[in-house]
């Protein structure tokens, strides 16, 4: 637990120390006596942190919506419907998530540059969706397995079509699963660095992790710069931390549902 929390705690505490005593950090003196927000003011004032965060927010939200729109019906089909190629499709989908992103980085870069789509939000949303869709599909199909098939059949018996069963019965019951899958998707997109770094060079289109990286790369590691880096890191982590904290119970239940029904 300490191992997991310590780096983040260290970043938070460092960001709240004054810019001048960044390197005088000692464990015995870990908690800052006063909360000094100078690092945050400097980081926000001198960089486009707000802009990059807004970009990330837009891309992660769009990726999440796109993922859920595709994954929710796909996962239902895999979990419940019987059709030719269902098992093969499910395997391919999950396998695609297992391929390391770095293997795809160069071909994707060439492809999107040729299509003149580099430096665009659209390209990043599509790219992020390529790994969030398989993941959310997997989470959701596990969730659908936990909804008794009788409910769906009761819908057909009561006169509902497949579309009505999905809309009126399955969807309302899937809200916890959709929230869990959406939160995963958002966090995956928010924290993604490699593709965003390769594809986006323009300062205006940068995502938060890439922006922070670009802003601090090549600068002297002075006390002030390091403190600003810590402040910027905390700032860009906040949305995903908030999302995680808020949706935590759904994330846990999403995992457990899958585990139990396996």
């Amino acid at each position: 637990m300490l191992l997991v929390i310590f780096p983040f705690l260290w970043i938070v505490l460092s960001s709240l120390r004054g810019v001048d005593d960044f390197f005088s950090f000692e464990l015995s003196n870990a908690l800052p006596k006063t909360f000094d927000l100078t690092s945050y003011k400097l980081a926000l004032g001198r960089s486009d942190l707000v802009r990059w965060t807004a970009n990330s927010l837009f891309i992660a939200t769009a990726t999440t919506l796109l993922s859920l729109t595709v994954a929710a019906p796909a996962a239902f089909a895999i979990a419940r419907l019987r059709f030719k190629g269902r098992a093969a499709g499910a395997t391919i989908l999950i396998s695609s998530y297992a391929i390391p992103s770095i293997m795809l980085a160069i071909p994707v870069f060439v492809l999107l540059t040729t299509l003149r789509l580099s430096n665009s939000y659209f390209a990043l949303i599509i790219l992020h969706a390529t790994f969030t869709i398989p993941f959310t599909t997997w989470v959701l199909q596990d969730f659908y397995h936990s909804i008794p098939a009788d409910l769906e059949e009761a819908g057909y018996i009561d006169g509902a079509s497949l579309r009505q069963v999905l809309w009126r019965i399955i969807l309302p019951l899937s809200v916890p699963g959709l929230l869990a899958a959406g939160a995963y998707s958002f966090i995956l997109s928010w924290t993604e660095f490699l593709f965003a770094f390769l594809l986006v060079q323009s300062n205006d289109a940068m995502t938060a992790p890439v922006g922070v990286h670009a802003f601090f790369t090549g600068r002297n590691a002075t006390e002030s710069v390091m403190a600003q880096l810590m402040a910027a890191s905390v700032f860009v982590s906040l949305p995903s931390v908030i999302i995680f904290a808020y949706f935590q119970r759904y994330l846990v239940s999403g995992f457990l549902t899958g585990a139990v029904k396996g």
Binding site: P148, D150, L151, E153, A154, Y156, I157, D158, G159, A160, S161, Q164, I169, P172, L173
Partner: protein, 364 residues
């Protein structure tokens, strides 16, 4: 009014290792009858019901509703409500919305739906629970909601898949009576699946008994009890189970005697039984059909006593490996070690073929 008929219906599951769930079943379900599909787990009774509902498609054979083949008609268009074993209530909808859901799907107006929901709620004693959610209801109340969702459609036939099996014994008894009353009141066809012979015998106009996908007998409860078509039906219906004794028929004077290794059971006048001298048969006799009498020609030493209140059953060994259960008057208060003399009424004997297990009804 709905007549439902199944003609040579077969259904199997699985790919390479095919399991035949329903094997060439033919059934005629007359209008307004309470028909029970009865059998042990895995006998194909639920699959048969699901095929009638349209939730499964038969591999072979025809399903007809009012003489119209419905094999390819989806469940939405069969107008056959189905009450599931676990009720399958929509957990995110209130009782009123659950009951009104089929009407909503039919496009019935909101005011009409509300009126009919209130009517059905009153009929089933759910008036005060209409705004509650399924999680806030007891098992019996959920069962009523599931029935309400079926009744509101005013259909000609109802399909019920073990609807009482999740209830405790007391409630099950109450609901059984309510179901019987409901069917009489609605004058509708009920097709009811159960593995509980008491439910079947008390509710049914006709019982279809199945095992391993095969229909063994389709008849009224009286006939099933008194003239079981084969050894499986004879053993499945009746509690305690029918005694089966395998042996050879011999004639001693005017009497027929069943003999087996170390065993000799006097059955009565040979002219009263449907088997002949020298024939090897399985004799079936229900525990409640023995006649305890000092003049009895047979004798049983009691080893175990089962007291059920209104009835008492004693068990002992007739021969080395032949256990026999006999019903006795509870006032006799039998204890282990008692010896009972008993006779047999030839009219209550059942004879089955050793090879096929089928009932032997006439002299061969």
């Amino acid at each position: 009014m709905s007549t439902i008929s199944l003609s040579h219906i077969t259904k199997s599951f699985g790919g390479r290792r095919k399991v035949i769930a329903v094997d060439d079943v033919t059934l005629e379900i007359p209008s307004d009858h309470f028909v029970v599909l009865l059998g042990p787990s895995g006998c194909g009774k639920s699959t048969t019901l699901r095929m009638i509902a349209g939730l499964e498609k038969p591999d072979r054979g025809e399903i007809r509703i009012n003489d119209k083949v419905v094999n390819d008609v989806p469940p939405q268009r069969r107008n056959l409500p189905f009450v599931f074993q676990n009720y399958a209530l929509y957990p995110h909808m209130s009782v009123a919305k659950n009951i009104g859901f089929p009407l909503k799907m039919q496009g019935v107006s909101r005011t009409e739906t509300e009126r009919r929901v209130v009517d059905v709620g009153q009929t089933l004693g759910l008036g005060k629970l209409l705004e509650r959610y399924p999680a806030q209801l007891s098992g019996g109340e959920r069962q009523r909601v599931a029935l309400g969702r079926a009744i509101i459609r005013d259909p000609d036939a109802f399909l019920l898949d073990e609807p009482l099996s999740n209830l405790d014994a007391q409630l099950r008894g109450d609901m059984r009576l309510e179901l019987a009353q409901l069917q009489k009141r609605l004058r509708a066809t009920f097709i009811f699946v159960t593995h509980d012979q008491v439910e079947a015998m008390t509710l049914a106009d006709k019982i279809a008994i199945m095992k391993n996908g095969v229909l063994h007998q389709y008849a009224n409860p009286d006939e099933i009890y008194h003239q079981p078509a084969d050894r499986f039906v004879a053993g499945f219906i009746g509690s305690p189970m029918m005694n089966f004794i395998e042996g050879n028929i011999k004639q001693e004077g005017a009497n027929a005697v069943l003999t087996s290794s170390g065993l000799s059971l006097v059955l009565g006048p040979i002219g009263d039984i449907p088997v002949s001298q020298g024939q090897n048969v399985v004799l079936g006799i229900r525990p409640e059909h023995f006649v305890i009498s000092q003049d009895g020609s047979n004798e049983l030493t009691v080893e175990i006593v089962e007291t059920l209140g209104s009835q008492t059953f004693v068990y002992g060994n007739l021969a080395a490996s032949q256990r026999l259960g006999i019903g006795v008057d509870p006032e006799l208060s039998p204890v282990a070690g008692d010896c009972f003399k008993f006779g047999i009424n030839p009219q209550s004997l059942h004879f089955f073929s050793i090879e096929t297990g089928k009932r032997i009804t006439i002299h061969p």
